[in-house]
């Protein structure tokens, strides 16, 4: 057992740091820090995406022939950790981390040739059409229907919780192309051009005041059959593959550590009225830090297992659950730390574009919206209740 990085890994770490120093501008860093929502706006994530793409680093999970950087699990861990510590924006996951792997695994050569470079370059911005108003955690009950008409599907229905649909030029969606059998059958995985006639987008404002998600309506939207991934009716298989990617093996402890660090800064700054000297705040910080340490060690144990070709076991639900709980504990602590300043509600978005002076310090502005938006962490991507169901099944055989 060895807790230190070897010479190659340290060299890579330095390379990442150099890259960040060269590409993370102060404006970008400030904008990232002032983002309370779960996802970053394209005008922040975009420049960062392009810088990574230029370096060949934008798609860590992809095979080399598709444009991935062939990192070891340790390198990936180093990269994520350094980015988090430096406070870089995150890259929009819908292209690189979600639809990308599906196209790589199940797409036709034509689909790969067309879509993958556009994902890498950032030319395409994707959104995900999975959830529907009636479905929630029970995704397979989806009702949006695609009816074959010659070389096209005609799509009718609606999707909800569509992150950044208002920015995206493409959507990957699960739609119903057949009936009968289990509800998981008869679902197809379709790529949709968001400029297609018949698509309307209704913004949904979160309780944090952000416009991240939308409801998308399809009214006789025509999509070429060639935009289907894989076989008709097999979409559930592809969609599940993607969900595995979405849930599993994340490296989240470093982002949590960064977020906690921001609260520690709030609590300890020279501004008057900041409560780091209160024992109850100091020990709450320690409690959360210990939770992050435990999550980090678990991630490192998984990383080591992957690195040596072992199976890390069924822990991805646990990682998701703990990450969401710790994130919420951090945002809650943030609200408590700023005391009366939590009363100040600033409705303008994005916060980093705010030019007027506010009654509270700039670094306090995202605290309450982050807490509020952060309630979603235990809901989206499978609620905590669903995660516990899965953990009982996969970790304990119950």
């Amino acid at each position: 057992m060895d807790f230190s990085f070897n010479a190659e890994e340290r060299a890579f770490q330095q390379e990442v740091r150099d890259f960040i120093a060269a590409n993370l501008t102060p404006d970008l860093k400030r904008a990232a820090a002032l983002t309370p929502s779960v996802f970053y706006e394209p005008d922040i994530s975009g420049p960062w995406h392009r810088a990574l793409a230029a370096k060949g680093w934008v798609a860590p999970g992809w095979p080399v022939e598709a444009g991935g950087p062939t990192w070891t699990p340790a390198q990936r861990w180093i990269f994520e950790t350094e980015c988090a510590a430096a406070g870089t924006p995150g890259v929009s996951p819908m292209g690189v981390r979600m639809v990308g792997p599906v196209i790589i695994k199940f797409g036709t050569p034509e689909q790969k040739a067309f879509y993958l470079p556009r994902i890498l370059s950032g030319e395409d911005y994707w959104c995900q059409g999975y959830s529907e108003p009636g479905s929630g955690s029970d995704l397979a009950s989806l009702k949006t229907r695609a009816v074959r008409d010659g070389d096209e599907y005609v799509i009718n229905g609606t999707k909800i919780w569509t992150t950044h649909a208002h920015y995206a030029n493409r959507m990957f969606a699960l739609v119903r192309t057949g009936d009968g059998g289990r509800k998981q059958d008869g679902i197809s995985f379709i790529l949709i051009d968001m400029k297609s006639p018949g698509i309307t987008i209704r913004p949904i404002i979160t309780i944090g005041g952000d416009h991240e998600v939308n409801q998308v309506f399809f009214d006789d939207v025509r999509v070429p059959v060639t935009n289907r991934i894989g076989e008709e009716g097999m979409g559930w298989t592809y969609g599940k593959y993607l969900l595995e990617f979405e849930r599993g093996g994340g490296i989240t402890s470093a982002r949590l550590r960064k977020a906690l660090g921001q609260v520690v800064t709030l609590a300890g700054s020279d501004e008057v009225g900041r409560p780091i000297e209160e024992a109850s705040i100091a020990t709450r910080i320690s409690e959360i830090e210990v939770d992050i340490d435990a999550l980090e060690m678990t991630e490192l144990r998984i990383m080591s297992a992957l690195q040596t070709g072992q199976n890390p076991g069924a822990v991805s639900s646990m990682l998701k659950l703990r990450n969401s709980e710790i994130k919420q504990a951090i945002t809650k602590l943030g609200v408590d730390v700023i005391g009366y300043d939590a009363l100040v509600w600033q409705p303008a978005r994005p916060l980093y574009a705010l030019n007027e002076p506010t009654p509270i310090a700039e670094d306090e502005l995202p605290v309450v919206p982050e807490y509020l938006d952060g309630r979603a962490y235990t809901i989206f991507g499978g609620t905590s209740e669903v995660q516990r169901d899965i953990m009982a099944k996969l970790m304990l055989g119950l």
């Binding site: 009636g134 955690s137 408590d336 939590a342 009654p359 309630r375 979603a376 609620t383």
Partner: protein, 384 residues
């Protein structure tokens, strides 16, 4: 010993609940939230009409002589409807301070105006460096001939933008945290040197930071001519806390009702959400938190005028219990509403925001745990 409501209390509850249900709507509240006042003057006039503004004021000055229990009954209904009108600022805090500490002349001037709905007040007390320590006042009141000159900065002054007068605490003597030497001045909002930075308040209503830059006022506006206003401030803030606790219980009960109803109808995997034992158990704990919260809010009201330390233990105890309970209920209400709970499309989030506000006002759970332990003689002020 009888903790059931009297006939008058029952009627008050019914009329308050009816008002919230019929005359007040989320849409109206949202519309008011966009206005500079953050509330509806028409609703305020109705409050005056219904006698609610006079409710806790002394009989001698146009009041009805109600106590903390009656205010709590109103506040619980206000909470269930997320009322944004400045009842706490004007009636409980503002008029409460004048009634507690004011001279006969001051009471006769201020209180009938409040009762009639013609005067709005705000309490400008908290300062940034103080966090939740009521005695930590750096704003100075310097004597200049017959006048006082006030200098300092106040934060979190609820409803200041709409107030006709601010009741400003300032230090005549002593160092930052000295209990003695604090006075209260009733200052017209338009006084020269007094400037506001107004803002929207989380969860509805308005507030402001207040800068006092050489604000000159005559000695006659000093409440009770007192240089030792802290005990009155503490008493009044404790009454405000009792009212806030009842308001929070109203929010908790509304959230519980909405969430229980939602889990009965919303289906997942072909079954109502409430089919899941984990959901039912969560709701059971929420129901328990509501019952316990109601008990503690009642305790706070019954002890609101009790002597120290019983008063402090009841008030801080309620703030602890309801602070924890309201946060739990509101967060779980969001959680059990799933994605919809995290959007502005339902009212659930509005309640959560108001709960956050409740928690911060006049001390969070940690603050009141220390205050409770101190009042119980189990913690030295050094260790706190």
């Amino acid at each position: 010993m009888d903790l059931t409501a009297t006939e008058e209390q029952r009627l008050l509850r019914e009329s308050a609940e009816r008002f919230v249900r019929t005359a007040y709507s989320p849409d109206a509240r949202r519309k008011a939230a966009g206005q500079p006042d953050g509330f509806s003057r028409a609703v305020w006039a109705e409050f005056a009409e219904l006698g609610w503004l006079a409710l806790p004021l002394p009989d001698a000055h146009g009041g009805l002589g109600g106590g903390a229990v009656e205010v709590g009954i109103l506040a619980e209904a206000f909470g269930s409807g997320l009322i944004t009108e400045p009842y706490l600022s004007t009636v409980v805090l503002g008029a409460g301070l004048v009634a507690d500490l004011g001279t006969e002349q001051q009471r006769a001037t201020v209180l009938p105006e409040v009762a009639a709905g013609r005067s709005l007040l705000a309490f400008a007390h908290s300062e940034r460096q103080a966090r939740f320590d009521l005695a930590d006042i750096a704003t100075r009141a310097a004597r200049d001939g017959a006048d006082w000159v006030l200098d300092g900065t106040k934060i979190a002054v609820l409803d200041a933008p709409s107030a006709d007068h601010l009741i400003v605490s300032a230090r005549m003597a002593g160092d930052r945290r000295t209990p003695e030497g604090i006075a209260l001045f009733v200052v017209p909002r338009q006084t020269a040197g007094l400037s506001l930075t107004p803002y929207d308040r989380l969860g509805g209503g308005r507030a402001a930071s207040v800068k006092l830059d050489g604000v000159r006022v005559p000695d006659v506006v000093r409440l009770g001519g007192s240089d030792d206003a802290l005990p009155a401030i503490e008493r009044t803030v404790d009454r405000a806390l009792a009212a806030l606790c009842s308001e929070a219980v109203g929010m908790m009960a509304a959230l519980l009702e909405a969430t229980a109803a939602y889990t009965k109808t919303r289906e997942q995997f072909g079954k109502p959400l409430a089919f899941n034992q984990a959901v039912r158990h969560r709701l059971a704990d929420m129901a328990s938190a509501v019952e316990e919260g109601r008990s503690m809010a009642l305790r706070a009201a019954l002890f609101a005028d009790a002597p120290h330390p019983e008063r402090i233990r009841a008030i801080s105890g309620a703030k602890i219990k309801i602070g924890r309970g309201a946060r739990f209920v509101a967060e779980q209400a969001v959680q059990l509403h799933g994605g919809m709970g995290v959007t502005e499309e339902l009212e659930i989030g509005a309640y959560l925001k108001r709960v956050i506000t409740f928690e911060a006002l006049f001390g969070d759970v940690d603050h009141h745990l220390r205050r409770h332990a101190l009042a119980s003689g189990r913690l030295s002020s050094r260790a706190a």
